[in-house]
Symmetry: C2
Subunit: 290 residues, 2 copies
């Protein structure tokens, strides 16, 4: 049995895929068990602080910008005028932080089920939680599935920044949820969602596109590289009622925005939708992007 | 101290970056110490057989196609008529296998310094070594640096399929070597080289482009995702006397070739050259790709 934190995390991640990523951990800054999951913030060597939920790496300070750039700026630069944005999950604050950099955004609603993640992030992860007190942010601690079912608000962009489809996030990968997402989206609306690993979760990737295929006329995945997720390559699902992620992307808006990024840029935006052949083969007939 | 092979490999890879990838190993099929390095072939759970040199993962059967597709098909589809191809390193045979799928290739010379890698691959890695007996392949067991210095042959594409710039591969990252590469390349010639991790080897990536900046007018990196390399994201260096990897890429040749790929396709070719912003920032002034 593993004894040190260093060994422990590696072994846990390994359970499913016989593959693990392993980090050297020097300190445990926070460890708690919420109603939903185990929440930990640890100090690593070389990767800054790390957030783990149920022993799975959520982010590190070293590479969180890749995930947060790509889950936000892709839809926000495709939508012509993203005034109202909804984030489901994203308790660390990184997604809200990037959403709020867009001046067009008048209001960002963030619905996180687990207050412990938010509190631990505010205390120990200032890099991601820096905008959680923004006047343009409405932070709700509640079940995103329930919120989506009961809300009557309309959003231009909805971002599902969830954990894996095990534990509390499971309903976020279901059809009932996406029916509610569609009902909450404006006519040009876009939804993006954490879409798992093309290498390890090929079946889940098929399933999620199947779930949305009757709901959204445009649907696909786009990829980015996350240093600290197993296998590196990671996907976001993109679905929209009418906005094409390439044809409706006006790259001049990126330079005009004067925003500086560390991962995202105009070339990366377009390139992210060019999927490796093994992924295209797996998703054949499910991707709809004329 | 680590005791099982499973723990051992993980800890070794971790030395430099405080990060490791860890695999479950069920059997050691081959283990030897050559004049140059430790060579091992092991059986993993879920990733097929794995080749390791000096405890670093070189390939697994599960994902080797990504590396071999991208190191070969990118330059071979940019060059108008790649008749003569040189591979330095690549002892497992995977690069030669993909090169020889191109009908234009009349001759592929492969120069591998370590016979033990070739022999172990022929015996234990039939997936990659399948074309090492091709009549169009000239396999030389000798020092690639020496070969490059003394050869009088000319090549259309030169592929440096090397290990990391530690141990036997170190001179393959030096300026003298690239002067010889340029001398051996035809007028439209292209060289690509294993280019390390953008996340972990930013300094090395700068250095390699610096090395070639006086030698090749066109030079950059392109990326792909390697499941079993630390961090996933990986680069190849691309340099040429005159062939631009995007402008001189005729994508219709890909479909006309009727070759089937598992990673490479026309979209992936172009997308690979769109680098994440942190990588562009690191390589500012060194990338030359008008």
């Amino acid at each position: 049995m593993p004894k040190t934190p260093f060994e422990k995390y590696a072994q846990e991640v390994n359970v499913k895929n016989h593959f693990a990523v392993q980090f050297e951990i020097t300190d445990v800054l926070f460890s708690g068990q919420s109603d939903f999951q185990k929440v930990e913030v640890v100090e690593t060597v070389g990767h800054g602080r790390m957030l783990l939920n149920d022993d799975l790496v959520m982010l590190t300070e070293r590479d969180e910008f890749a995930y947060h750039d790509m889950i936000t700026h892709v839809p926000l630069f495709v939508h012509p005028n993203p005034e109202r944005v909804l984030v489901i999950g994203g308790g660390d604050g990184g997604t809200a932080r990037e959403v709020l950099r867009h001046r067009a955004v008048k209001k960002c609603v963030m619905v996180e089920i687990d207050k412990m993640v938010v509190d631990a992030s505010i205390k120990h992860l200032p890099v991601t939680s820096s905008e959680l007190d923004s006047p343009r942010l409405e932070l709700l601690i509640e079940d995103g599935v329930k919120y989506m079912r009961e809300s009557t608000e309309t959003f231009d962009v909805i971002i599902i920044d969830s954990t894996d489809p095990i534990g509390p996030a499971t309903p976020l990968f279901g059809e009932a949820f996406y029916q509610d997402v569609a009902a909450r989206l404006s006519s040009n609306g876009i939804v993006v969602a954490q879409g798992e690993s093309p290498w390890y979760e090929a079946t889940m990737q098929k399933k999620l596109l199947s779930v949305v295929q009757e709901i959204f006329p445009l649907r696909t995945y786009y990829n980015f590289s996350n240093l600290t997720y197993p296998g590196g390559l990671w996907s976001f699902m993109y679905a929209s009622k009418g906005r094409h992620p390439i044809h409706d992307f006006d790259s001049s808006k990126v330079s005009a925005s004067e925003l500086k990024f560390r991962y995202y840029n105009e070339g990366v935006h377009k390139a992210a939708f060019s999927l490796p052949q093994f992924m295209k083969d797996n998703l054949e007939g499910l991707i709809q992007l004329p």
